[in-house]
Symmetry: C2
DNA sequence: GTGGATGCAAACGATTTGCAAGCAT
DNA sequence: ATGCTTGCAAATCGTTTGCATCCAC
């Protein structure tokens, strides 16, 4: 918990920015949130703690977190951008349930290996990649099976 | 070339829609376009042939093409949606050059196989998936190497 | 002639930005 | 005090939609 605050404070002073109340509270709420939050959702949760924080500030602050290495932007299928923690969070890909919205993370070194191979064959230098599978999670499969 | 028109006409009559001049010309330009077009780009090209076609109609028509099975929507990293041909075009994934915007397609059955395995392990039913690698293509690698 | 299609402009949702006021340093 | 930050509202971008008109059937 303290580690992330340190990272943020470091980044902030390194860039002659200011450590404000808003940044503090947004960081807290962000860290307390599991998984992949949208700006809207975070602003929602935030409003229970500190209702005066504006949406614009949440946008600005999440972008700051990305630059500081605390968060990572992810754009899934449709709609809004989501942010996930990036401290102590190694690379992974996602299974996304199109019914309930659940996001399952996974890692697969074999796939990564094959990706590198494909890139090499195309004389392509990979900087980042994304692998997402969309479909139904176990729970939703059960539900749709029982309703039929 | 004729095949796609047939598919469109079929879809249109099956759904008691109308085969208009606009749909005809948009289809032609779309088919004559390689790779992954954005609506804006298509509208641009279109304006050289038939300047009166509105952006809104291009949007509406590309969505129609998707429903008819002629095109497929793809949302890459940022910005706008792109559309690719889907007739005689089997499943594939993409390498996207972040410098010049080039998009290279590839297929890799081994990766698909491993993906299926991951899904299974998570008791997840995959409906669709996407794999994209972002980086520098061969040409842009050369350029950046020579400029340094 | 009738209902679907079009062009236009307005509406949209997500995100960004300009600006005057506010607060951390 | 200085200047980075904030909240607000307006602006932006890509896309969709309402509506009067138009055209394929």
């Amino acid at each position: 918990m303290i580690k992330e605050r340190k990272i943020l404070q470091d980044y902030i002073s390194r860039n002659s920015m200011k450590y404000t109340k808003q940044r503090e509270v947004i960081l807290e709420v962000f860290l307390a949130t599991e998984g992949h939050v949208s700006v809207e959702e975070l602003h929602q949760k935030l409003s229970e703690v500190e209702p005066s924080v504006s949406l614009a500030t949440v946008y600005r602050t999440l972008n700051l977190f990305c630059k500081a290495g605390l968060a990572q932007k992810r754009k899934f299928g449709e709609g809004q951008t989501r942010y996930e923690h990036s401290v102590d969070h190694s690379h992974h890909d996602h299974l996304i349930c199109t019914s309930c919205g659940k996001i399952i993370e996974f890692e697969n070194p074999m796939i990564e290996q094959l990706q590198r191979q494909v890139a090499e064959r195309n004389d392509f230098l990979v900087k980042s990649h994304r692998l997402e599978m969309y479909g139904l999670c176990a729970d939703c499969r059960k539900k749709s099976a029982s309703s039929s």
